[in-house]
């Protein structure tokens, strides 16, 4: 597969703080790559360095095989960016905003008109074309922000936390739109700290913390790093220490946590762990409200690797 982005040994320092620490990664054509990490982990700094907005201390960045620079207009023509903050003009309508930003890439008016219509349809703003940004809800505003960044049909799209503070309906719309863009051939870099979005969208995930890449791979590959096979949660109102000790001694049980309401039993390996736990509870006549089993999440991976929650 063709490399679209090649980042080698990228380091970015702000005075005494190393915001990005010697990271290297490649992105291939047609992929959706997720940059996952808590706030301040260096995701946005990495994106802004790739886009030549930020100077960096060390390393090299190639896009479409060319060393990236601010004057590389032919390369920039094929890049779309959706920034974390909404960047639209309050004085222009939805249609005008998209037309303005699209016009920075597309000169031909008739082509631009068609592209703008496509972008409006993609983000579901057809009924709001003549609205001004201040008349839109937070979710609709985010959709406009996305439309302004992708209307010119770029081959490479950077989406920096596009779903922050968005209602579920708009979030679904945005995620559907991103998958549609990929189906049309775009390569996408998606930064977020919402692990469920990454799991839905991304072919590959790069996990960042404190400016470094701490893990990368597919969702399944990363989950193997968590060293957990299964996690069973049981809602129990009362549980003695003696019973907890007995549960800990059950086969394959790695860890048991009980907070007074929910019992969480973590298994490292094995099969039918849920059934075996249910048998144990009924034999000991312990009543419970709910019981369910989970596969390890990316948060568990992050916890395993850094010792802290992803959303800390």
């Amino acid at each position: 597969m063709k490399k679209v982005i090649e980042v080698s040994n990228l380091t970015k320092e702000y005075k005494s703080v190393r915001a990005v620490n010697d990271i290297s990664f490649d992105v291939y054509e047609g992929e959706i790559v997720g940059l996952l990490g808590p706030n301040g982990s260096g995701k946005s700094t990495t994106i802004n360095s790739i886009l030549s907005l930020l100077s960096f201390s060390k390393g090299s960045i190639k896009i479409f095989g060319e060393e990236m620079s601010p004057n590389l207009y032919e390369v920039k023509r094929n890049i779309g960016v959706v920034f974390q903050d909404v960047a639209v003009f309050d004085e222009l309508s939805v249609l005008e905003n998209i037309d303005y930003f699209c016009g920075l890439y597309i000169k031909d008016k008739s082509v631009r008109k068609e592209y703008v219509e496509d972008a409006i349809n993609l983000v579901g703003l057809l009924d709001f074309k003549k609205f001004y940004p201040k008349q839109l809800s937070g979710g609709l505003l985010r959709r406009l922000n996305i439309a302004c960044g992708i209307a010119h049909k770029p081959k490479l799209i950077f989406l920096d936390e596009p779903t922050v503070a968005v209602d579920p309906q708009s979030r679904n719309n945005i995620l559907d739109g991103i998958l549609k863009l990929r189906s049309e051939g775009a390569t996408i870099i998606y930064t977020t700290h919402y692990m469920e979005e990454v799991e839905i969208l991304c072919d590959r995930i790069i996990i960042m913390d404190k400016g470094s890449i701490i893990a990368s791979g597919t969702s399944d590959e990363l989950k193997e790093l968590a060293n957990i096979e299964e996690k069973v949660s049981v809602h129990i109102s009362e549980l003695s220490d003696e019973v907890i000790e007995k549960i800990k001694s059950l086969k394959n049980v790695e860890e048991v946590n009980y907070n007074g309401d929910v019992l969480v039993v973590i298994y490292k390996k094995g099969e039918d762990n849920l059934v075996k736990l249910m048998d144990f509870l009924s034999k000991n006549k312990i009543r419970y409200d709910k019981i369910f089993s989970e596969r390890p999440t990316l948060n568990d991976v992050f916890l395993e690797l850094t010792g802290k929650e992803l959303r800390d």
Partner: protein, 388 residues
């Protein structure tokens, strides 16, 4: 791409209600208030005759002018003049029996003890006489140089000079009447109002530059990642800012001329030139503030408004006396104050007969603008930033 940016810049700037208020509405409101407040003052001041003393040290021109301005039979009587010795003039001034005295010597001097409208009028009249004297002296000097005395009879020479001077004064030199009827203190207020509007136009430049630079706004970042040259975006936006600035000035001129009856003199082309150059100075100031200070758009706008108001205050917006106080105590301040340069350009255009002072102000404004733009370019040229 230039037209596309220019069109949308016009749209965004025109629809920004706060911008339009400060640059279109505020000067009109202020102008109306000036008109209401100062017209009454002028009416009451017109009837007052100012007590002054002249220490006659042989300057004939001075004596003649002051004689005519203190003619008791004239409707335009401006002064009550006493011809005294310098010692007596000092005593009269100390006992506050006169507003000030004039040392009518080769290099005339005005001495006052306070700052006020009467003192300002006296200073203005003396300035005007000096200007008048200078024109006549220059003309005589050039005529003397051209004519060989041995070729003509002396009487003919004197007659020629007299007729030439008269012709020049009538045809080329348009000295305004020095009379209480014509002398308007409020004119300075309106000149500073125009200066303020020119400089407020810089707010458009602040917004335009802020929306272009990646380290200033996300809109700027969005523009910076596009394949459109930064130069094109900046130039198209500044042109749009300039156009709107000028439109604001045209509206203000029309309002003050037709509604408030303000007279800007007869030389329309130079009035237009002053407005164009003044607006350029405002635009440069906006570019400078926007590109040098890394703060929010509101902070930058506040800096520009504060600078403009301070500049207008020093150039006489809240009272003509301030202009003379600054001119006499700290002249350098008004030499680097764009509001003072614009005000003084209009002032010299209206009150003075020669254009030296006018062109000095225009050239000063151009230099001021060029310096600010050159300094700003260093910041504007940056394409990658340390932080955004």
């Amino acid at each position: 791409m230039f037209i596309h940016n220019f069109k949308y810049s016009l749209k965004t700037l025109f629809k920004d209600k706060i911008l339009i208020f400060w640059t279109f509405m505020f000067p009109i409101i202020l102008g109306t208030l000036f008109s209401l407040a100062f017209s009454n003052i002028e009416d009451s001041e017109k009837l007052k005759v100012i007590d002054i003393a002249v220490v006659d040290n042989g300057n004939v021109v001075f004596k003649n002018v002051f004689d005519s301005l203190s003619d008791e039979d004239s409707d335009d009587r401006l002064f009550n003049v006493r011809y005294v010795s310098e010692e007596e003039a000092i005593k009269l001034l100390e006992s506050e029996k006169i507003t000030g005295y004039v040392l009518a010597q080769v290099k005339p001097k005005v001495v006052v003890s306070n700052n006020g409208i009467n003192e300002t009028v006296l200073k203005y009249v003396v300035d005007e006489i000096i200007e008048y004297q200078s024109i006549v002296s220059n003309f005589l000097a050039s005529s003397m140089h051209e004519i060989r005395l041995e070729d003509i009879q002396m009487s003919e020479f004197v007659l020629d000079i007299y007729s030439e001077v008269s012709k020049k004064m009538n045809e080329e030199v348009n000295i305004h009447d020095i009379s209480s009827e014509n002398l308007s203190y409020t004119m300075i207020e309106f000149y500073t109002l125009i200066a303020m509007t020119c400089l407020y136009g810089g707010i458009f430049a602040v917004v335009s530059i802020n929306n272009t630079l990646a380290n200033m706004s996300f809109k700027g970042a969005r523009v910076s990642v596009s394949p459109t040259s930064k130069k094109i975006v900046i130039l198209s936006r500044l042109l749009a800012s300039y156009v709107i600035q000028l439109l604001g000035l045209v509206i203000l001129f029309l309002f003050t001329i037709f509604v408030l009856d303000v007279d800007y003199g007869n030389d329309l082309s130079l009035v237009v030139l002053t407005s164009l150059v003044g607006s350029l100075a405002g635009l440069s100031l906006g570019v400078f503030v926007s590109s040098i200070f890394k703060s929010s758009e509101n902070t930058k706008t506040s800096i520009l408004i504060a600078f403009t108001m301070a500049g207008c205050f020093l150039s006489g917006m809240m009272g003509i006396t301030m202009k003379y106080v600054v001119d006499s105590k700290a002249p350098i301040l008004n030499k680097i104050n764009p509001a003072a340069m614009i005000t003084d350009a209009f002032y010299s255009l209206y009150y003075f007969t020669t254009r030296d002072r006018f062109w000095f102000n225009i050239i000063s404004l151009v230099i001021f603008s060029v310096i600010l733009i050159v300094v700003s370019i260093f910041s504007l040229r940056r394409q990658r930033y340390d932080s955004i």
